[in-house]
Every structure is written in structure tokens, then in C-alpha cells.
């Protein structure tokens, strides 16, 4: 029965494992997905290295050179107070990406334990968590954020916290349904018979097994949060001018849309391209999981009750 293949060594070496991981990623994302991933990597690079690569101070005004044309010292020109647009876009990547990252991180930190507890315990806890998530899901994220800003104060912190609450269902509903599917697997029953506790089984077995499904959801939640935060910043409710943020940049230049539209276009293109790239990655990851599930689905089990 043991069809041992001599070519397979017992322990793969580290580089070959890394290559295998890279190959898997390529297979999962496809060509367009890889382009999207490169774009996101570029944006993250800009955000991380903003102090190094930005040619000018993003907030330095130069009233002698307002609305300078692109080229020369200012690659993308300057805005109405003579600030370098390219530098503001690069610094804007920071606030525009850190905000959604915090939203997703917070909703993961709260949502995953909630979802696992609900799936593990079932019964009333699952019912309460499920209804709660449904109610939050029915509230538009922007509305929650606007309410929070109205109650507290305009600024990034209240907006991010409010969006984290509003995005809780995006993560938790998917995690809960994936965890429920895993919980019904016999390997979980086997672990229970072994004598492992619920917390240990959830942390060591359920969590790693729902990671691919939840992971596919993260880019999509990130993209939506980016869009919502940019919209809130545009409305002046999250990041405040003069701090550079893509949403703020669109708002700053909208008064001069006729005549000096370039800043609106640049910032808008960055928002759209980043959101589309994230959506694409999420879609590819999710589609890959669905395909694999379909392939694995027909399994003959002659289980008797």
C-alpha cells in the first residue's frame, strides 16, 4: 500500500519550500492578480519610505509658485498654496493605508474570537452573536462613522473606531460560517475525545483552518474601508487638512476642479487603482477557495447514524 516515491525527500529544504509557496501564490492570483499585488506593494513601499522618497516637505508652502505646471523641480506640479503634489500624494499613501489597516486589524482582533466562540459554543451564544452581527451588517458603515464623528469629534480616531465596528460583520460572519463547517469535521470530535479543551482546539486547529477563507475577505474589507475613510476625509470628518491624505487631497482641490483638476485626478486615480487592486486580489483568493471546495466536495462517505 505504501507507494513510496523515491523522489520525495522526507524534509524539504527551506528554499524549495519558499519557492513552493511562491508558486502557490502565483497559481492562486493569476497574472492580473500578480499585477494587482505589485501595485499594492508599490503603494505600501511609498507609504513606508515616504520620508526618503518624497522630494519635498508635503506641507511646505511656496506662495510664489502656486499651481506650478508639472516638470522641473515639481514633477506633478504644485497646488494652490505651492505645496508639491507628488510629495503630498506619497505622504498621503501613509494616512490612506494606515487607516484602513487599523480598521481591518481591529475588526479581526474582535471579530475572530467572537466568531470562534459563537461557532464553538453554539446555542444561545451563537444566536446572540449572529443577530448582533446581522444588525451591525444592516447599518451602512459611513452612517455609523458619521454618527460617531457627530457624537465625539471629527478626526481619524473616531472614524476608524466606528468603521472597525461597522466592518466587524464582514470578518466575523465569514469566520463564523467557516468555523461552523470545521467544527462539524470528525477531526474536531477526535480532538474532543482526546481531552483537549475548547479554547485549545479553537486556537490551534479551527483558527489555522479558517485562515484561508478569512484571509480572502481581508483585502475586500480593506478596500471598502479605504474607500469609506477617503470619503470621510473628503467630507472633512476623518483626516483633516492640511495633513496629506488622498481623500483630503481630492477635497482640497475640488474648488478649483475647473482649470487645476490634476490633483483631484491623481488622488482619485490612486484611490480607485488601489481599491480595484485589493478587490481583485480578494476576489482571486476567494475564487480559488471556492474552486478547491468544488473539487474536493464529492467525497463518498458511508456514514451510518
Amino acid at each position: 500500500m505504501t507507494l513510496t516515491q523515491p523522489s520525495l525527500t522526507a524534509v524539504e529544504s527551506a528554499p524549495s519550500r519558499a519557492n513552493a509557496a511562491g508558486r502557490r501564490l502565483r497559481n492562486r492570483l493569476g497574472a492580473t492578480g500578480l499585477v494587482a499585488l505589485c501595485w499594492i506593494a508599490l503603494m505600501i513601499g511609498c507609504a513606508a519610505l515616504a520620508p526618503v522618497i518624497a522630494p519635498h516637505d508635503p506641507n511646505a508652502q511656496d506662495l510664489l509658485h502656486v499651481y506650478a505646471a508639472p516638470g522641473g523641480d515639481h514633477l506633478l506640479g504644485t497646488d494652490g498654496t505651492g505645496r508639491d503634489i507628488l510629495s503630498r500624494l506619497i505622504w498621503g499613501a501613509r494616512t490612506s493605508l494606515v487607516g484602513p489597516a487599523l480598521v481591518v486589524l481591529l475588526s479581526l482582533v474582535v471579530g475572530l474570537p467572537l466568531a470562534l466562540a459563537a461557532a464553538w459554543r453554539g446555542g444561545w451564544l451563537d444566536a446572540v452573536v449572529g443577530r448582533f452581527l446581522d444588525i451591525v451588517f444592516s447599518l451602512p458603515a459611513i452612517l455609523v462613522a458619521v454618527l460617531a464623528v457627530a457624537v465625539f469629534r471629527p478626526g481619524p480616531a473616531p472614524a476608524i473606531l466606528a468603521l472597525a465596528v461597522a466592518y466587524l460583520p464582514y470578518v466575523a460572519r465569514v469566520a463564523r460560517s467557516a468555523a461552523l463547517r470545521q467544527r462539524a469535521m470528525p477531526y474536531v470530535a477526535a480532538l474532543t475525545v482526546q481531552g483537549h479543551g475548547g479554547v485549545a482546539i479553537c486556537a490551534r486547529h479551527l483558527l489555522p483552518n479558517i485562515t484561508p477563507v478569512v484571509g480572502a475577505q481581508i483585502p475586500i474589507a480593506f478596500a471598502n474601508a479605504l474607500m469609506d475613510l477617503a470619503a470621510l476625509s473628503f467630507l472633512g470628518l476623518a483626516v483633516q487638512s492640511p495633513q496629506a491624505d488622498w481623500g483630503v487631497l481630492v477635497n482640497d482641490a475640488q474648488a478649483v476642479l475647473q482649470g487645476h483638476s490634476s490633483q483631484v485626478v491623481y488622488a482619485g486615480v490612486l484611490i480607485i487603482a488601489t481599491v480595484v487592486a485589493l478587490m481583485l486580489i480578494g476576489d482571486r483568493l476567494g475564487g480559488d477557495i471556492r474552486r478547491r471546495r468544488v473539487r474536493r466536495a464529492p467525497q463518498p462517505t458511508g456514514r451510518t447514524p
Binding site: M1, T2, L3, T4, L8, T9, A10, V11, M185, P186, Y187, A189, A190, L191, T192, V193, Q194, G195, H196, G197, R204, H205, P208, N209, Q299, P300, T301, G302, R303, T304, P305
Partner: protein, 269 residues
Amino acid sequence: MTAAPVVDVHELRKVYRTGTSGPLGPRRNEFVAVAGATFQVAAGECLGIVGESGSGKSTTARMLAGLERPTAGTISVLGTDRSRPARRAAERHLRGGQLQMVFQDPYTSLDPRQTARDTIDETLRLHTRLSRAERADRVSEIAASVGLDQRQAHALPAGLSGGQRQRVAIARALAADPRVIVLDEAVSALDVSIQAQILNLLADIRDATGVAYLFITHDLAVVRHMADRVLVLKEGHIVEQGPTAKVLDHPEHPYTQRLRESVPARGTP
């Protein structure tokens, strides 16, 4: 059956209630899966439980393993009552060390993200106080005892065949050093040739460790090969029990006779 039994089941009963709310108030549908089963398993014995689908075999197994809660009756393993769910961690560990279970489908009864070695090691971490190095030795020992080679021991379940996976599941059960192993259709999902290998492995393990088996199957040929005594379940009732040869060769209950006749005999087309 002279020594104290390792498993003592008395009047075990499981009723599933499927309550639906109709227009005239709640309607109760009751399904009796196990209707008062009483049996014992002696130390080192292999008790076969046979019956058709829906006869309550698996429900009995799951109740013994603590995966289902009995509606009535008592289950005692090595003198410890387990009719109620374990309340404390120490109680869970104790029960896990007494009785282990091997499931039918080796494709879903292993964590797909855990290698065979890690699976065995996790059980050892829970049930022994061995150091990391001692555990590594013990893992190799257990893996070898169920016939897993080096590559297979380091492989994820996806890289193993059904028979190899079932060996991992058996190794995982053995790692807890139990006195009883419940085998719920443990070879039913395997090819016939692999079945024979796993059955021989189980027989060898019993000889070496003196563990008792509760062997649940619908396959009478398998029961004849493995079990010392056999118990026939029909619709949750025990209709017949006794030594395997006697029950299978000279069945008293018409149901056992029908079960036996439904198996194609050797040599007949």
C-alpha cells in the same frame, strides 16, 4: 469475563427530539436511536457491534466517547462514570487517557494542516509529562509501530493514502495509551486489501498492548475476523449477543439470520 469489565454500560438510551412548531402548538417528534443497551467489555477483549445503518451503532460509540450525551442509563469506563459531560480539564484528560476513538472517514478525521508527527505529538503533550526530546523519540516509536515510514510521518494528510491516514488516526489514539479504543467503522472506507492490513495491525496492537476494542461495523466478515464476542443491534435494541462464532454460525434471532444471509457467501456468484 471474570475480571472487572473495562467498559460497563447499563440501560443506555438515546432519544433525539426534533421539535417543530406547528399551527396547533409545538409538535414533538421522537426518534429512539438506542433503546436501553446493556453490555460489558472485558480488559483486552474485542467486542463487535453489528447492525444495519440506523441501528444505533454509531450513536452508542459516540456516547461512549462523550460526543453525545445519553438520555438515560449509565456508562462507566474503568470504574469512572462518564454518563455526564466532563466538567473540568482534569476530568477530560482522564477520560481521554482511558478511552480513545478511531473514526470511519480518514479523510476528515485528521486536521489537514497537521503532519502525522505533530498529530501524535499533540496527544503526547496532553497525556504525558515527557520532555521535548523524549516526545520526539516516542513519536517515532508510535509512528513505526503503526507502520508509518519517515516520509509519511512528516507528511500532511493530503500527501497520504486512506490507509496511511487511518494509521495516523490509530497512532493518535495509541499515543494517549488508552485501555479501550472505540473503532467506529474504522475500516469501512478503505479498499479490501488495505482493510486486511489495518485489521492485522489492530490485532497486533491488541496483542502487544492488551487494549480492549469496541469494534463497530456492518461487515460481518470483519467482525468474524476481529471480535471475541459480538452484539447485534436492531433499531436501538440489542437482539442478540454472545461469542462471535456462536452468534454468526448459529444465530438465534431472525434478524441476525437475515443479516447473515444478506452477505454473499464465498464462492457464490
